[in-house]
Amino acid sequence: MAAAGFEPRILVLSTNAISDPGIDYAGSGHVHYPAAARVLRFPCSSMIRPEFILHAFRSGFSGVLIAADGGDCPYLRDCPERTSRRINDAYALLKANGIDPSRLRMSGICSVCSEAFAKHVKSLYEAVQKLGPVVPPGA
């Protein structure tokens, strides 16, 4: 069960051309979501090495959201398939390291998908809040 008062941090991995502008758009519209979500932008979600995700969990994050380009990716037509492969590899890596793979989520966030983005962050935030920290205090 979750530790009382546990405030998880979420790492959002965005993409320079599509989802990061979408996250900006949420900000411009003052669409609220938990401030616990930190953002790091990549050129394209296909660049994300699965180890980066494991590294995030080891760096204090309790949840990771890949804000992918989906079909809008300016670089790669098959970006969703490629990113899915990275995520599947990451799931396997997390399992092997005893981390609940449900802490990692991916969603296509378009450049104007502000509400969708806020919804995904809130939902992951609530889910990992229930799960508690990756390494419980004192473990």
Binding site: E7, R9, L11, A17, D20, P21, I23, D24, Y25, A26, G27, S28, H30, V31, H32, Y33, P34, A35, A36, A37, R38, V39, L40, F42, P43, C44, S46, M47, I48, R49, P50, F52, H55, A56, S59, G60, F61, D72, P74, Y75, L76, R77, D78, R82, R86, A118
Partner: protein, 670 residues
Amino acid sequence: MAKVVLDKPGEAKEPARIGVYVCHCGGNISDYVDVAKVAETVAKEDGSVVVSKHLMFDCSDVAQQEMIDDIQKLKLNRLVTAACSPKLHEATFRAAAKRAGLNQYLTYHANIREQSSWPHSDDPHGATEKATSHVRSGIAYVKSAQPLDVLRSESTQSVMVVGGGVTGLRAALDLARMNVRVYLVEKAPYLGGHVAELASTYPLGEKGIAIVQRLVSEIQEQPNITVFTNAELVSFKGYVGKFSVTVRMNPRYVVDRSPRFAEAIEACPVQVPEEFDHGLTVRKAIYWPRGPTVPHLPLIDLGLCTRCGACERLLGKAVRFDQPPENLELQVGSVIVSTGFEDYTPALGEYGYGEIPDVVTLPEFERMLEFGDGSGLRHNGHAVGSIAYLYCVGSRQKPGEATTPGSPAHAYCSRFCCNATIHNALDVSGRYPDVRLYHFYRDIRTYGRNELLYEKAGRAGSIFVRYTEDHPPVVSQRDGTAHVTVQASILQNEAVDFPVDLVVLVTGMVSRENRSLNEMLSLPIGPDGFYREVHQKLRPVETNTAGLLIAGTAQAPKDIRETLYSGSAAAAKAATFALKKELELEPFVAFVDPARCSASGKCVAECPYGAIELREQGDFGKKAWVNSAVCKGCGACVAVCPTEAIQRAGFSNDQIRDMIRALGVAEEGA
């Protein structure tokens, strides 16, 4: 101005001396984020931060000068700015760093407005922690940043324009007048596209073909434009400044001039509907294209030709059935895609289309107006004394309302059609003053000066009847007469029946399929099917592939005036490449450390651009190698490398790990 000293490669090895500048953005940031605390926290916890300030506007001249002075006086070698979205001002601060003599890529712009103060205006404490965290990641980034040089690439001073409608003609002409070499490629056998079909264009009533001919005659005076009609792109490779494009000139099977073309066409026994007239007239298998054509020759539609030999007997060697297609490889620095639109074709039975003979579309009606024989307006064997225009057919559809199978609903307004219809009504009133004109509309969008046309049409006798989208009109046929039944808004949606001689469906614009071109050029397509620009306002004719530009109605519905604006805009943008001998490109490409590379070939297979290959590299042997001019910097290769030998300049794997670690730092007391 300070003296500018470019970084030496060794500079990055010196200990980092970082300047941090947190922006208030007036109050946009500081109203929610405690900017003083952010600046103080990062300075306290990191010894490499030499100076950490919070300024009213980082982007102001005064603030930029303060940064430059600090860089020079305090010997800073890294710059972190924390302000609005990097989309707005990252370039500003890179330029400031450059002016101070610092390599522009030893900087980081942290987003604490769009991604901190604004979305967390409900949580100032959380917003401050997040802003601190984003600044920390910027500090982590610059610590291991390497100075980078912009990439330089030779620029081919020529441009290819794909699509010879009015947009492409305008763009070609503008470029030629800037002394840029232009290749204009049109798939159809004639120039002018849809505009050539228009009987009368708003607001001045000029014939479409006259507009086309004016542009074409100006083009013919430009020796540096080469026009290809009946031609298409078959291969496309390269990068901005150096695209290599293969154009296939499709055979016309008529290869030489002859005085007997008219006789030969007369002799041809094959008759098919003429596409140019929307099938309202017929043409032969050997025919003259209906717009300007280069070379000025008729052509034979080989798919229809029965090889009866009738034309061949008259034209002799001017006909050559074995004429092969001819491929031409051309080098260009940039490409403008202006491939236009398709008219929306109503589904069978949509407002009676295809079922009731007196129902036509506006583009069909435009052609009908050209066939008048002086005996008044006639259609389907009867005189036309009344016309009903039905607006917004195929435009402004709701999801699920799509009438073309497999196509998404056309949610957009097609923009030109209200104006075109009202102008058409004025044209009809002028030609046939006794014809009664009814307009059934949802909204009239005669924006700008066209509003005057709307008023004029009302005064000329056009009757405007509004309906709401929930109650669209119904077209039926009774005793051989078309009827439009409409629930008029002004009569509290009471149904009113109008028997009319002709129903004109005001159809909008839809995107062209052009699948092979779209795939060949990797053109970005929006949800409406039209090409999508990088930024609607700031970069309206660019795509994410540098040097690949879009213009005209291939991008979105536009009227003639607007499409010519965009043709000129794309020409101006193309000239920014074509008028330079050398181009500067962002250095964010993949690079390989050959010492680490295991030559797995995974990156080679992963790259969709063919930018990576295994090649001999001296003592290292056969290792991965990146053609930096072809690399787009997506980083897909980085993710699959088993040894981390391939990484992305300006965003290395260590930088990423350091940034993630910095973002993960828990606040005291949290």
